[in-house]
Symmetry: D2
């Protein structure tokens, strides 16, 4: 695979984002940029903004995937914007568009995204020290099928390094079903 | 608006892409890159691949928005990939995610995208000389509401320049409704 | 196939619906109910409302598939309502959810739906006498792939009878690709 | 509101559905039918099939909302089928298309749907005695915003009665944001 890796950062939106989660997300974005990967978020504020801000600080590339039909408003650190217009159903698109995801803080929206990662067998790590869902979900499986455990990590660097390892393992033999491309193109 | 412009190129997929349409799409991608805008396509082959290839030749940024749930396969000129997983419904996302669109060649899929641009009042020009839908749709309105006429142009440079003019006009007073962002964030 | 047939009626929304198109759509809904099929529309007004009104007059079942996130507002003849929340991307869902479609009048939105039917190889007939897109699209193929021709018909009864014939032919050997169900369920 | 109520039953898909959850879901469907409401599910097997089977036993109406692009396969108790073609993003559509939801058993997919109900402020009760997510989620809020608590109930009848009460309360003053219908129609 020659394409650039894409790593999603999911977590607290503005209304529930603590200062600590914001600061940690910024560091996570920096670490993602340092390994040359693109930082993918929902394009909003809180943890999403912080991760993209960090990525830009290190010259990284950023992609924001919005729920709305219009490209504005979005946070000012998005290099590329996708306006899905499909509301919260876009959570699935964020996860489909990453090789792996990192949870920083987070509430119900983050839980929604994390369950999708589980269902689709997408590697996911939590920055446990950032609190919120990241802490709650550390080490758990969502059900008895045990598709994908949420791996706990303690620092932004560890989160990115650990996720990279998981992504490499996964590439070898993905259980992920995925929708198969059809023969006809339009 | 400080963000980078995003311009979509829509047109013939591989199975109906003529050599002429491919060559012209490549030039369109080059012109888009020259004005510093991001080239947005469906991430497939034919005109999509050509436009992104042209954009990369000039150091431009490219975004491919796929219908599938997985990021692969896609053409090799995508800097950023979005795997929507919503099938052909993703045509709407391509249009939502651009400031304006250029038609090069094209068949039924292109017509689908062009009607969406019309409905949402997104500026659209056709490279008439590329044939296919670009030729068929030049100068027409899709219905009596006359939301948006497809403007015909004769060269890649004219297509980009003309579209830029339309985008600037539109920014002043957009009739585009759009889904309004909601107060609560998640 | 033991399930009840589902037939979509697509056409003029309120702002462009002529009295003639409304009256014809009502008759189309009646004919659909008479053969025991469910009438599927976008749940709005104009032709959508008329077809469902006709279906209810004959004791038929009706399904409205809305673009919005909320179930209201919708026309008062919907027995079952689906609120997709994905905006105009829902056009594809309307077509996926029918065995065949009938065009009555119509503008740009109808054209969008008709191209989707073409791309997905879903049987489609136009009630030519209702004007608008129904007239414009009669007899055409959308591109050189010639997937599906829009068949012209002159009366509501002929439209339904002809469509039934096409649906039966199609069942025998569908070229329609479709997204394949995946092995794991969630 | 004169339209028929729509109640979603979410829970264990076939691979994790216990006999107890299946039996209880069947009773839930019966109770929904008895109050004249439509039973909405994802159209699959396990709890989805059971609830629809129960509803049909009591002469109720049923709606199945599939993730796939094709209307088949689905369980044999669906009166009306919607083939969304948007994969697991369809979970949001199931919730948008109900006035309230009942959890019976369930794993990760159910959790995904429950978080969506929370985010969108849709009334939701759990049949605690059915185990799985229904048990795990009883009484909890998903985050500190405390939008919607999952209410625990002990019998199918109590689940439906309690949900009805919540729906009536909600109708009076909905906090639910929803995407606003736009002025132009297509």
């Amino acid at each position: 695979m020659s394409r650039r890796l894409q790593i999603a950062v999911i977590g607290s939106s503005k209304s529930i984002c603590t200062k600590k989660a914001y600061r940690l997300a910024e560091k996570v974005g920096e670490e993602i940029a340092k390994i040359g990967a693109t930082t993918v978020t929902g394009g909003g504020h809180g943890v999403m903004e912080a991760a993209m801000k960090g990525a830009k600080k290190q010259g990284g590339l950023t992609l924001g995937i919005l729920p709305w039909e219009k490209m504005d408003p979005h946070n000012k650190y998005c290099d590329v914007i996708v306006a899905t217009g499909i509301g919260w159903s876009r959570d699935a698109i964020n996860l489909n568009s990453c090789d792996g995801a990192i949870i920083v803080g987070g509430g119900a929206g983050t839980l929604n995204e994390a369950t999708y990662a589980y269902i689709e067998d997408i590697p996911i790590v939590a920055l446990t020290t950032s609190g919120g869902m990241a802490k709650t979900l550390t080490g758990i499986y969502f059900d008895e099928r045990k598709t994908e455990r949420v791996i706990g990590t303690r620092t932004p660097r560890e989160a990115v390094t650990r996720l990279l390892g998981e992504i490499k393992k996964k590439k070898k033999k993905s259980k992920r079903p995925g929708i198969i491309q059809r023969k006809r193109d339009y």
